[in-house]
């Protein structure tokens, strides 16, 4: 079991460019979560899928952020027109049904917007 796989590990974009982050959850896990980690805010919930369906995106900035889960083996987080304040580590996590929301995190993608 390779765990949750996130690619790329590091991404550098210029202000105004688009960034797409990829996540492959653990096989058999039906819930996938995206979190953002910064020193100032800590871990912030962004969005959540269960059985590929979007359940809760209450943490997503509405204008430039979007997330999809086209199949059970991967999810993407897309940030359009990136801004310096989007610089953060974006963590993907998955969980097994009935595990009381124990999350298995990936190593994250460190996004740097110049």
């Amino acid at each position: 079991n390779a765990g949750v796989i996130q690619t790329p590990r590091h991404k550098v974009t210029g202000k105004g460019q688009e960034a797409t982050l990829w996540c492959e959850p653990i096989s058999g896990h039906s819930a996938v979560f995206w979190y953002r980690q910064t020193i100032v805010q800590g871990l912030e919930f962004l969005t959540y899928f269960r059985n590929q369906a979007p359940i809760d995106d209450s943490g997503m900035p509405k204008e430039r952020f979007s997330a999809q889960m086209p199949n059970q083996s991967h999810s993407t987080l897309k940030i359009q027109s990136t801004q310096p304040q989007d610089s953060a580590v974006y963590l993907c996590a998955s969980s097994h049904p009935g595990a009381n929301e124990r999350l298995f995190f990936g190593h994250g993608t460190k996004l740097s917007v110049l």
């Binding site: 871990l43 912030e44 809760d56 009381n100 929301e101």
Partner: protein, 113 residues
């Protein structure tokens, strides 16, 4: 909404000493509390979890007791090691709001020889 408050910032200790990292929470629903640990350049990993009032839960020498009366879930260890140096997050989910954890801002523990 739900919220979690942790000991802020950095806690520094000499190895062999005890540690307690504070965590208090607010929720209107029945709480499920977690401690996650994140070592440098690693993914956060579950350390402890509990939803049972007044019952101590332990793992890898760390322990915590959920006290619903005081809305607390403090993390303790009797003797810290160098390898315990990491970032520790307290997190909350409520049985009415499944699928989402509310994290505290994290406490960095630095253990010195």
């Amino acid at each position: 909404g739900d919220s979690v408050t942790q000991t802020e910032g950095l806690v520094t200790l000499t190895k062999g000493l005890p540690v307690m990292l504070n965590c208090t929470y607010q929720t209107t629903y029945s709480p499920f509390l977690f401690w996650y640990v994140q070592h440098l350049n690693e993914a956060p990993k579950l350390l402890l979890k509990s939803s049972t009032d007044n019952k101590r839960t332990e793992h890898q020498g760390f322990y915590a007791t959920l006290h619903k009366s005081s809305s607390s879930f403090h993390l303790q260890k009797s003797s810290v090691q160098l390898s315990d140096s990491a970032l520790y997050f307290c997190a909350l989910t409520s049985t009415q709001v499944v699928g989402q954890l509310t994290f505290g801002r994290g406490t960095r523990l630095q253990v010195y020889a």
